[in-house]
Structures are given as C-alpha cells and as structure tokens.
C-alpha cells in the first residue's frame, strides 16, 4: 500500500497542503471544462469571457444564447454537481469514521434510500398541502429527506454497533434489508402517485443533476455547507475514534457530542443531496478510500480531501453523462455505479488485507 509517510510533523502537513491544493486545481480545471463541453458547445475563451464579464471586469459580451445556456443552465448544474459530489464524499468519510468501518456508504447502508422515501412521501402527499408556501415546499423537501436519512442512520447504528464496535456483516445486511424496505415503500407511495411522479421514479433510483437551478443550488448550499464545515472541523475527534470509542473517551473526546454532530450532519448532507439529485451511489464509498490509499488515514486530509475528490468525481461523471449519448443524457447514477460497484467488489475481496 503506497501510503506516504512523512518523517516529521511538518513534512506531513506540507504533503497534506500539497494534496489539497492539487485537488482544488483539478476541480477548477474540471469546472471550466464542464462549462465548455456539452450539447451546446461554448468555447473556453467564451466561458472565461462570460464569467469575467459577469464578475464585472472584462469587456467580452458573449453571444446571447451562449451566455444564457452557460449562466442559466450549465453553471448551476455544474456547481450542483460539485456541491453534491463533495457532500457525498464527505458524508461517506464521516460515516466510515463514525462506524469505524471502510465499507460504510450512505447508499449501501440505506441512508440515501431512507431520504429518498421521505422525499417521495413529501412530493406525493405533502406538496399539495404546502403548495401555497413556495419557501416551505423548497426547504420542506430536503428537510423531509434529512429526517428519513437521520432515521435510517440511527436504526442502522443501533442494529450494527455494540459498545462502539461495528459488526460488518450485520451492518451490510441491515443495509440490504433497509434498502429493500425503503425501495418497497417508495414503490407503494408511487402507486398512489400520478403519472408525472411515476415517470420521476428513475430519478430517485439512479440520480440526476438535470433539474438544477440557481434556487435549488442556493438551497443545497445553505443546508449542506454548514453541515460540511461541522464535519470537517471534527477531524481530531474522528482520528481518536479510529482507535475505538473507549480510547477516544480516554483521550478526552466527548463521544456523545461527536456522534450527534456526525449523525445530524451526515443525514443533513445526504438528505439534501438525495432530495435535489436522487440517490447517487458509491461516491461516498470510493472517494474516502482513494484518499486513504494514496495519502494515509489522517482525517485532517481524509475529510477535506474527500469533499474535493467527491466533487471531482461527480463533476467528471456528470460531464460523461451529458456527453456520451448526446443530445440525450444518461442518469448519472449509472456512471457512478459502473465505477463504484466493481470497486466495492474489490473492497470485499481485499477487506482482510485492508483491515490488517
């Protein structure tokens, strides 16, 4: 395993900063590339010109259509991909740290489907009641999904963890059971839904960034960024908990507080992501692993690194989804699952080696 081991503290910090800067640069490059490439091609110079013009410096006036596609459709979508990918990567890393297990992922343990179920319930039954207040229907959906995600997280934790130790097989089986249950419940609710909602079913099962708008992006940012910051700030505590909850308590960590914050934040991130873009699987599984494999297990890097790499991964997946069957689109979940499922199998096969 090619873990980079820094001899002293300072070089380790330096490596971490280098990795984070590198990931940020890749993300920025990918961001610009995603703005340029698509069914409606906008050249890179136009992209930069329109952004510069919008920011108030530069004189370039893009063609009306390019400007409209870029600012009205593509940019909110690409930004949404970044924030949701980052959130899912981070939530995966946080849940893995909390469960002390590298196989945990919001999709696998049923948190995403739990959120999706609550979101579907809200759409089918709640939207009519709340259609009078647009703000509530905008915020209500993610909050409902948050409740569903939180509920499933707590149930799974209750089932699989005893005195701070998680039983992997029980955890995965609990995830399978909850996924099946929530899937069935979603189906049941959709049975009572009208045709339009029915057609959206693939959206919930495979994920889609297609409907992104600036308003939705703002909702995502308001709900997900504070939660993400809360999680990232807990890196020392998560490091201590890797030794065990008991040991972390011995070292002065307030375990209950850390757990509550992680449960709530992870459910908030995943719930919001699910309500806005459906269940996009495997990002939260693959991303923290790649960071650990490459640069060690220190959560100082794993948490922020997972956010950046998750954003990169989902942006790249979305870029593919938009372009390989142009002008049609693939659901983005198909691409993340095609990448993630083989990786998951690899993890299962190598679990012994990884844990050692």
């Amino acid at each position: 395993m090619s873990v980079i081991h820094a001899d002293i503290f300072l070089t380790k910090r330096k490596v971490q900063h280098l990795v984070l800067s590198g990931l940020s640069l890749i993300l920025i490059a990918l961001f610009l590339l995603s703005l340029s490439i698509g069914a409606f091609h906008i050249s890179m110079s136009e992209v930069l010109g329109i952004i510069a013009g919008k920011l108030g410096f530069g004189t370039y006036e893009g063609s009306g259509a390019a400007s409209q596609v870029l600012l009205g459709i593509r940019m909110p979508r690409v930004l949404m991909g970044i924030i949701i990918g980052g959130g899912l990567g981070l939530a995966g890393a946080a849940l893995q740290g909390l469960f002390r297990n590298p196989l945990v992922e919001p999709g696998l343990i049923g948190v995403s489907t739990g959120g999706a179920f609550f979101a579907v319930v809200f759409i089918v039954f709640g939207a009519k009641v709340l259609s009078m207040t647009p703000l509530l229907s905008l915020i209500g959906l993610p909050l409902f999904a948050f409740c569903g995600g939180l509920m499933v997280t707590l149930i799974v934790y209750r089932i699989a963890s005893h005195t701070g130790k998680t039983d992997v097989s029980v955890l995965i089986l609990a995830g399978v059971a909850i996924n099946a249950l929530m899937g069935a419940l979603i189906g049941l609710v959709l049975f009572y839904a009208d045709d339009a909602a029915l057609r959206n079913f693939t959206f919930w099962s495979l994920g889609d960034l297609g409907g992104s708008s600036w308003v939705k992006l703002l909702t995502a940012a308001v709900l997900m960024i504070p939660a993400s910051v809360m999680v990232i700030r807990l890196y020392p505590q998560l490091n201590a908990m890797a030794l065990g909850e008991r040991e972390a308590f011995h070292m002065g960590v307030n375990i209950q507080y850390v757990k509550y914050v992680l449960f709530l934040s992870a459910a908030m991130i995943v719930g919001t992501a699910v309500s806005l873009s459906g269940t996009i699987g495997f990002v939260g599984l693959v991303v923290p692993h790649l960071i650990r494999l490459g640069f060690g297990a220190d959560h100082r890097l794993v948490l922020s690194g997972s956010f950046l790499l998750g954003a990169i991964l989902l942006s790249a997946a979305d870029l593919l989804a938009r372009n390989i069957v142009r002008p049609a689109e693939l659901p983005i979940g198909i691409i993340t699952a095609l990448l993630g499922a083989p990786f998951f199998i690899y993890l299962i096969v190598n679990l012994k080696k990884i844990k050692l």
């Binding site: 002293i8 890797a242 040991e247 308590f249 011995h250 002065g252 960590v253 220190d298």
Partner: protein
C-alpha cells in the same frame, strides 16, 4: 490521589465487584493482581470512567469522577486498555501523536520523539500500526498514553495500564517498567494490572490482591507478598524468596508433576 470508596458493581444482579476500597497515590506504582475473573478488569474500567459503579464513589484528586467532563478527565488520567484495534491505516507516529489531541500545545514533536525512542518504537514511526507485532503495538499504545500526561503539571496525574507488557519479551518488560519508575518522579501515580508476579515483586510499590470481586490483601509489596497470601490468592503453591545476592525478590512456582512427586515422596 485516585481513590475508590466502597465500590460496588453488578451485572444483572450478579455482583462483579463486591465492596472495594482502593487508593492510588501519586509517585507510586500500584499493581492489581489476582486470578482470572477476579474483577480486575472491571475495577479498572470503573476507575478509568468507562463504567459507572452502582454504589460507592471514585474520585481523582478529591473530585468525584462524575464531576469531570471528558476533556478534563483526560488531563488527570490516561488509560491503556488491553487490546486496541485501529480501523484505518494510521502510522505508528500518528497513533502516538493522538495522545496530544486534548491539549496539542502541551507537548512538542521532540518530546514525542523522546518518548518513542525511550520505548524503542521510533524506528517504527512510519509503519502502519496494524502491521506491527503484539509487543510493538503495546509499546506504541503505551507511548500514546504517556504523551497524554507528559507535560509536567502542578496537580498529580494517573495512568491506568491493563496488562501493558503482556506481549513483550523479558528485556522489554524490564525496560518499560524501569521507565515507569522514572515517570513516578513526575508526580504521576501508576495503576497496573499485571500477571507476571516477579515483575510485580520487583517494581511495584503497592499491591492490591483481588479475588472474587473483593480485595483480599492490600499493602506494600514487602508486607503482602508472602507465600501464604499468594497461595490463597491463586490456589496454587507459590514461593517468594530473596535473591541470594540480597537484591530483589524471586517469585516462582513449580509445575504440577514436581509437586506431585514431592507429595509422593513425603508419603
């Protein structure tokens, strides 16, 4: 002073710890010994704050343990449990450095290095903890625990170690216990669950003998380490002798077939 008064603990009506009084003084090494299932580990967990006793009171420096927040308690006591597994590929150095998360300013990198060198694990600093041998893991964990209380403080601190040297070879066991002797001078009280009686005889100041959830005998090694006490503690003949050069104690027990031969001869 780490003090436990009338500690009682039971699991579903079955008493594990009957009625125990215990004092660990700073500057002393106190060893808990006793047969398997005597309640040593439970007592250890009660004292470290992992478990809460049903009756009785545990206090650190005169303050009730329930009155401490986890970060305050971590400044007064550090704990090394018997087994610790690490769930992700952390390096040994990272594990040791975790000892300072409660108070990152209290210890420098040079101090961490000094502790690791003293315990002969500095050369393992870059290796993944999970790849180490049992004895190496124990020394890394011990280094982590010591880092937590390394900075000198005005108030007494305590370290609780549950069989800290069980996987180490003889030379390392002596190295570690000698290091513990040095630590006592830092106004630190050490409480240790130990199985090796000759180590207890030669390094401990106070001994607490536990049997069936009760303290059977309690006092300075020179007073309580007698043939009779040890035999009734373990239910097996154990001999304590002065080393022929007058330094230290020898504790030994004969194998069962030798004892049988002796009995046969006597008959």
């Amino acid at each position: 002073m780490l003090q436990g008064r009338n500690i009682h603990f039971c699991i579903s009506e079955r008493p594990i710890i009957g009625e125990v009084n215990i004092v660990v003084a700073p500057g002393e090494l106190t060893a808990i010994i006793g047969p398997n299932g005597a309640g040593k580990s439970t007592l250890f967990k009660l004292l470290s704050g992992d478990l809460t006793c049903n009756r009785g009171e545990i206090s650190y420096n005169g303050k009730h343990i329930a009155g401490f927040k986890s970060n305050q308690l971590a400044k007064v006591r550090a704990v090394m449990p018997q087994h610790s597994e690490v769930s992700f590929p952390f390096s040994s150095w990272e594990i040791v450095a975790l000892g300072m998360i409660n108070d990152p300013a209290a210890i420098s990198d040079r101090d961490i290095q000094a502790v690791m060198e003293k315990l002969q694990v500095w050369h393992l600093r870059a290796q993944a903890y999970n790849m180490l041998s049992g004895g190496e893991k124990q020394r890394v964990q011990l280094a982590r625990v010591l880092v937590q209380v390394w900075k000198k403080q005005a108030f007494p601190r305590f370290i609780l170690l549950d069989e800290p040297v069980s996987s180490m070879d003889v030379a390392l066991q002596h190295l570690v216990l000698d290091f513990m002797n040095e630590l006592k001078q830092r106004n630190i009280g050490i409480l240790m669950v130990l199985h090796d009686l000759s180590l207890v005889a030669n390094y401990a100041d106070q001994v607490i003998m536990m049997k069936q959830g009760e303290v059977m005998a309690n006092g300075h090694v020179s007073e309580v380490f007698t043939n009779q006490n040890l035999e009734s503690l373990y239910g097996y003949p154990i001999h304590v002798e002065k080393h022929h050069q007058g330094l230290g104690l020898l504790v030994h027990s004969l194998p069962i077939h030798h004892i049988n031969q002796r009995i046969n001869k006597a008959l």
